[in-house]
């Protein structure tokens, strides 16, 4: 009996031993890590390599050159597409986060705890339905004979159908702001849920009004959620392909459309790779600058 207990104790100690923990952890995580290494790191490295190569019809010339970057940065069309993608994604992010905040606040602070799940479920349902069909339906809503125009004409508010709401960047912003709504609501909601409610009571007890409490306590404490929402919306929208193609018209096309054209239509993989790298770098730099400014602002606040 005693011997067994000692053995069991020893086995437990061995299990808690840091090195074996590390070994077990690495062993267990390795299939997933290996998969990500092979199918994410290696492909991204390949794209980077391609951006320094050139293609002559079907032959890839593997001599190192910066010509692709020179061409990409000199060509006004590419520059404009990258700039437009960033501006549209910025507008989408602003609209989505500003519209989402009150909803997250409402669900977190004004909905009874047992009904919160239901509200979150209601908000996420439209997000899980076919993205393609949703974007197409926005085309139906915003179109010449669409829902908006026919109802406004029916009400006698306008004579001619509005043309500024489809086949331009406005339409892309509206459609993407709809598509990414849950991505903004959920992180803000989680951040608001984490706020200790007694802090708000303390603020009220110390003589702050409801509104000043919101601006001085609730809003600053929810900043991490807002920051997460900004990045989660901004990064994928810069590279969106479907929405600009379906509702953007010629002036609403974005960088992803050009990347697709380079790869699948013009058969110029190196230029497609170069534009991909430039898009990634732009997104990365903007995200890092955003995070740095945020960190600085938070430090100043403290």
């Amino acid at each position: 009996m005693g011997g067994n207990e000692v053995l069991a104790e020893r086995a437990r100690n061995w299990g808690r031993f840091a090195r074996s923990d590390a070994a077990r952890g690495w062993l267990l995580v390795s299939p997933t890590a290996l998969y990500a290494l092979l199918l994410l790191a290696a492909p991204l490295a390949t794209v980077l390599a391609f951006s320094f190569w050139t293609q002559d019809f079907l032959d890839i010339d593997r001599t190192f050159t910066l010509n692709n970057y020179r061409e990409a940065l000199a060509e006004p069309l590419y520059r404009e597409l990258i700039l437009r993608s960033v501006l549209i994604a910025g507008a989408v992010t602003l609209a989505t986060v500003v519209l989402a905040y009150p909803i997250a606040y409402f669900v977190s602070f004004h909905v009874r705890p047992e009904r919160k799940s239901m509200w979150i479920f209601l908000i996420t349902i439209p997000f899980w339905t076919s993205y393609l069909i949703r974007v197409f339906l926005w085309k139906v809503i915003l179109g010449f004979n669409g829902v908006v125009n026919t109802s406004l004409q029916g009400l006698g508010l306008i004579e001619e159908p509005l043309s500024f709401i489809l086949y331009n960047p406005n339409a892309v912003v509206i459609t993407l702001a709809h598509a990414f709504a849950p991505f903004a609501i959920l992180p803000i909601f989680v951040a608001l849920e984490k706020i200790d409610r007694s802090l708000l009571e303390a603020s009220r007890d110390l003589g702050e009004s409801r509104i000043t409490t919101f601006f001085r306590v609730t809003l600053p404490l929810s900043v991490p959620g807002v920051a997460a929402a900004v990045l989660i919306v901004f990064i994928p929208t810069v590279g969106d392909y479907v929405t600009p193609r379906l509702v953007g018209g010629p002036d609403g096309l974005m960088i992803a459309n050009m990347i697709q054209t380079q790869f699948l239509r013009l058969n110029n993989a190196p230029m497609g790779a170069t534009l991909s790298v430039l898009a990634m770098v732009t997104v990365g730099v903007i995200s890092l600058v955003f995070l740095a400014l945020l960190a600085r602002w938070l430090r100043v606040k403290q």
Binding site: L28, V29, T32, L39, P43, S117, E193
Partner: protein
């Protein structure tokens, strides 16, 4: 007072969220090939045309096979990572897990393009398998996010009790851990399935001769006379997504109740 104003705003916002979805059944049952108002009449003709379109049926089958395979692969990979993250501390844990989660914040077009370049470079021909590889990559982070809460809520004393009662590491996992996290696994499978079923851009780049359903739909959107059938199909898809998600949510809540944890809400 303030709560009332927010409530009205919340309802208005829900109308905005549901606006496109509500139109779907309206046009699916509308007796006209023109997708615009005013409506002309009621018909179920578009639903009847679905089974008579072989290309559509094929693409649905391709998508279902891809989605099911993706769900199993990404949930398997997700279990490894979530379990390792919840149970063990090892050097480099945060960077490794962060790297695995990277596809969440990478534009999908980049993932699609980079995989395409590599697969073509290796001389592999595009097929359903190449789509599965891409989908597994982007679904795994979602699976990990769901499974993290399942493994995180697990009380370690239950496993220790099992060891003390003489079970081995493997039998403990099978008899104690697995049943406790099973609801999380099921909801992870369903989420990965749903994401894969709906994913367009990676499938668009990596699909071979057999298009997935979104790729097929993309082609159909160019032909106005085909659109009512797409609407009918969309209606069916919406109804089934809602059903799948309701089931997933049910299992997730039950899992939380089973491990005695607190509901932290939502899939993310």
């Amino acid at each position: 007072m303030k709560g009332r104003g927010l409530y009205v705003y919340a309802l208005a916002y829900l109308i905005f969220l549901y606006a496109p979805i509500v139109l779907l059944p309206i046009f699916a049952f509308n007796d006209s090939t023109v997708i615009a108002f005013p409506l002309s009449g009621f018909t179920t003709q578009w639903f009847a045309e679905i089974p008579e379109t072989p290309a559509l049926i094929d693409s649905v089958q391709t998508s279902l096979v891809i989605a099911a395979t993706t769900a199993i692969l990404s949930t398997g990979l997700g279990i490894c990572a979530a379990r390792a993250g919840a149970k063990y501390d090892f050097p480099g844990k945060r960077p490794v897990l962060g790297f695995i989660m990277l596809p969440l914040v990478l534009p999908e077009i980049i993932v699609a393009v980079s995989l395409l370049v590599v697969l073509l470079g290796l001389g592999l021909s595009l097929s359903s398998w190449t789509v599965i590889l891409g989908h597994t990559l982007i679904c795994t982070p979602f699976c990990i996010a769901i499974l993290n809460s399942a493994f995180g809520n697990l009380d370690p004393s239950l496993e220790e009790a099992s060891f003390d009662l003489g079970e081995t590491r493997f039998t403990t996992f099978r008899l104690v851990t697995l049943p406790l996290v099973m609801p999380g696994i099921i909801s992870s499978l369903l989420i990965a399935f749903t994401i894969s079923l709906d994913e367009f851009i990676i499938a668009f780049f990596l699909t071979g001769t057999e298009p997935t359903l979104p790729v097929y739909l993309w082609g159909q959107l160019r032909f106005p006379q085909k659109i009512p059938v797409v609407m009918a199909l969309g209606t069916i898809l919406v109804a089934s997504s809602v059903l799948i998600l309701a089931v997933a949510e049910y299992f997730r809540c039950r899992g939380i109740a089973r491990t005695g944890g607190k509901d932290t809400g939502g899939f993310l």
